[in-house]
């Protein structure tokens, strides 16, 4: 496994079972908090719900490089999130992207 050295920017589009939405959001927030705290290679995880369709979740994910992404997938907090939310997720689409322009930063 070699590092590409380039940041990975990915999007995840999920549909969550409405009956489990509040529990899902708590688990997701906890997973994000642990990831950015414990993994320096996890640069950004922004989780959003689509207004008017709260079960539709979008996550903007930025990792330092391919290795950081793969390490994230093996982290205990990610595996725990995946297992705990497996029955709540109706669909999941992972989108790889090529950045055109990353302008500014929040805050």
């Amino acid at each position: 496994m070699t590092s590409t050295g380039r940041p990975l920017v990915r999007l995840a589009e999920l549909e969550i079972d409405p009956a489990h939405l509040e529990a899902y959001k708590v688990l997701l927030a906890r997973e994000i908090e642990a990831s950015v705290e414990k993994e320096p290679g996890v640069l950004m995880l922004y989780a959003l719900s689509v207004r008017g369709s709260p079960g539709q979740i979008r996550i903007v994910e930025i990792y330092a490089d391919q290795d950081a992404y793969e390490a994230h997938l093996r982290s205990p907090h990610f595996l725990e999130y995946k297992s705990a939310t497996a029955g709540m997720v109706r669909s999941l689409r992972l989108i790889e992207t090529d950045p055109i322009m990353l302008g500014g930063r929040p805050g």
Copy 2:
């Protein structure tokens, strides 16, 4: 018009005519550069193309508040971008979101 004082996080999903894609990306990058340079209320504009479907563009947009967003829509660089790219955009979906968790920051 009153300020809500809360950041606005929005997503735009565009489909660009492949014949105009390279020109579109140049105009989009220029618009983003001008926006983050000239408008303190434009916190973040991340433009991505979907890998394997380069005409599919996603833009993650964060504005300081509703006023900043409305000012952006009236800015000369945004109006110029809208006018110059009007014939290149096949579809545009604007998605308002409610943040669940904004973790970390790139860079």
